[in-house]
Symmetry: C2
């Protein structure tokens, strides 16, 4: 009996697909890695169906790959060894919003925009904001983060509990509803960021936050990256609970102006956001402005109204997309290193030098409070020479980051692209990860060919 | 050749002890659990010695138990199966303070008071503050937290990297110096809180914070636990970044007044602390006071100067100790549950009812922002009837917490006392923990008899 026939025993036929377009849509993500077709795509409606699918896959030793929205940047959802792609679009319910516990429980197919639209009705929000409107299951599986991580943390900090289907089909909960715990091993953090290689998520309980009374955005312009980074580091050191602090280097501001029609000063800029009350934000703005002046900040513009603020962040978020719109055929490849704060200015400057030397076009934007930055390399994916240069540039930046005590990926995950750096980054710890993988997935059915080089075909 | 002779091959004789007093000092902690002597105590000076000791123990299949200051509350350092107690008092060096990265690297024997004394010179502090002056290795091993966790997080949130000796003597690093990462499995959080059962820590890299310009403490008095809890929950929901928010119920304030000579109003009280700048703290105080009034707060006293603040927290921290001082022969047994915020008021009121019914004496204090609270039961450890009542009370409170979606231990760890609740709390996830334990410590030499019931003798 073939795979599809066996699947019909555990999930209705109309939610099993081998349609060519459907297979193609589940063969790749937003990355540049070459796709690979799954043998079949299933659309489960509940945890029991997921558990049965995984149990069957384990019995047949068929690979499974969980699929959210396909917005990943490192090829995590590409079924490198074929098998079953489990699409979570039918599991997109917000199961509970508890405004007293500041917790929500969602199915993995719920997207962050969908969740925030609903949370807004309660005066709440979920802060983690990767660029795309990703599914929360996908975001947990890559330990996604974004512009608000400096204050509110990454996925690992905001997932309170995961319901997970293990390789053999058993269901577990990794945490509880308690805000902290010293009970047993911390499985939640182990599963967050494991990219579908240790289990399949069927429910997530997430920490949410009250929307602040007052939200003010600002732009601070500096004459050097060193100064901007030192200003930011000093601000964090004195404990100002800044909600966003994003670095954009001079060249990228130029891109923004061209793309969005703004006329921002084309110099190193920090995009900032403050969350609080009238008084607390006023106080934070004052101390930030004063402190930044000591580091050569020569323009500090405040956006108090929500429209101006929205514009500022739209420009920050979408400049590359608008730029691409004007350059048909081009796409963006992103680097994603994260370094200790003391090495950030050097890392950004080194990256700019390498980028210039490569003759590739690109922007640099950074989640500076976390030491994480992206070089968005603009290229034609069909131009082999450009692709080769881009890969070399990525490698240069990763080597710099690892030598500086950093990591090859701050928020996009390992997937296919960062596998080759795992041994250099983790050393013997990589063996511990493999031991855990082997112990929890002895038949290697869970997203094989990701994170660990030897599992790839 | 016996164990001591073999140990002499890897560590100088003068740092190996079988002296009776030394063995006795390493047979117990601050808990009520009956002690057990190790066969030998070693005092390694560096990571290589630790690695050699562990490798030897693995070869001989002799249990090892890491020992910090012995201030644990759940029997984690008790060598239930004898073997080697590794005392880290000689590994007490602060290896690096990096005020730009806001990182320090320490050996596991460094205590939190020792660290903060040194950090103060740089205008920095390490926030995690369990009651005792514990070692940082011990604090990481139990995922300790304390009064500032509501703002600065628990150990799991503040350990950036661990150097760990595995069961077979190999050394790994679990993280990097980067503030965030999506690279590989999150081993740091797996090892934090593992209570010496997965590896032995030889170095810790910790996140530290700038000491705020302005620190203000306050006391807010309410007429019911429900009101105080709801006030606190609302304050957190609107995003006020409060640094400390501690609940003390009425009866316990009476204890404090008797013990410390204060004349606080004997009603439900929140002890608060605000960290920031003049303006931000002023704003936070104003909004807190206003909001609390809506929940029936009828006294709000502010302590702006450092002496008044120190007194307030001294009273909060030490009231039980002073109380004990006046009641020779008595000791304190602490419960440690953590519940979702919506269940906290009920949990505290239920605990007070059970405490009253038991006829035992006790205080209730709570890290209310986290939903974690302790019933400090005052008893005579030689009174079998009192001990029985106390254990029964503990059990009642744990069952309430688990039924409420909480955890049996918010910050003290599992050790010996919470093993029996692990299955109820974690269900099938406990099997996953056991699988990981078995994979990483196949000879069961690492602190056997802790966390998992079946390993105990």
């Amino acid at each position: 009996m073939n795979l599809v026939e066996r699947l019909k025993e555990v999930i209705p036929e109309d939610r099993i697909s081998t349609n060519e377009t459907v297979l193609l849509n589940h063969s790749k993500d937003e990355s540049f890695y070459s796709g690979n077709l799954p043998d079949v795509v299933v659309f489960p409606k509940d945890k029991q169906e997921v558990a049965e699918i995984v149990r069957l896959a384990n019995e047949l030793e068929v690979p499974i790959v969980p699929f959210g929205t396909g917005s990943g940047l490192e090829g995590q959802v590409i079924p490198k060894q074929g098998g079953i792609s489990i699409d979570f679009q039918e599991m997109n319910k917000i199961l509970e919003i508890n405004d007293e516990d500041l917790l929500v429980t969602v199915q993995p197919g719920v997207t962050r925009v969908q969740l925030n639209a609903e949370l807004g009705k309660y005066g709440l929000f979920f802060p983690v904001d990767p660029g795309a409107d990703a599914s929360l299951g996908g975001m947990a599986s890559t330990n996604a983060s974004g512009t608000t991580t400096v204050r509110y943390g990454a996925m690992k900090d905001n997932v309170r509990d995961l319901e997970v289907v293990l390789a053999d089909g058993r269901l577990i909960h990794t945490g509880s509803r308690a805000k902290k715990s010293s009970s047993g091993y911390r499985l939640t953090e182990l599963f967050v960021g494991s990219e579908g290689t240790l289990g399949v998520f069927t429910e997530l309980t997430l920490q949410v936050y009250g929307i602040s009374e007052v939200i003010v955005a600002a732009r601070a312009v500096f004459n050097s990256i060193q100064n901007a980074v030192q200003a930011a580091t000093s601000l964090l050191a004195i404990g100002v609970p800044i909600a966003r602090i994003e670095l954009v280097e001079a060249y990228s501001i130029k891109h923004m102006n061209l793309a969005a029609g703004t006329n921002y000063l084309e110099d190193v800029t920090l995009f900032l956001e403050f969350h609080g009350t009238d008084k607390s934000v006023e106080g934070e703005l004052e101390i930030t402005k004063d402190l930044f002046e000591d580091f050569g900040c020569y323009q500090f513009d405040i956006e108090k109204d929500s429209l101006g603020r929205a514009k500022l962040w739209e420009v920050r978020h979408n400049s590359l997309n608008i730029w691409l719109h004007h350059n048909p055929g081009k796409r963006v490849m992103n680097t994603d290193v994260c370094v200790p704060l003391s090495k950030l200015a050097d890392a950004v400057e080194y990256s700019r030098t390498c980028l210039d030397e490569s003759k590739l076009q690109g922007s640099i934007i950074g989640h500076i409070g976390d030491g994480n930055f992206h070089v968005g390399i603009i290229l034609d994916p069909n131009d082999a020479e450009e692709m080769k240069k881009a890969h070399r540039l990525n490698e240069q930046i990763v080597h710099f980051a690892l030598a500086a005590g950093g990591t090859c990926t701050g928020e996009h995950g390992v997937g296919l692209g960062k596998m080759k750096y795992q041994e250099q980054e983790h050393g013997t710890a990589l063996d511990v990860m493999k031991t855990i993988k082997q112990a929890l997935d002895p038949n290697q059915i869970l997203n094989p060919g990701k994170i660990f080089v030897e599992n790839s075909n």
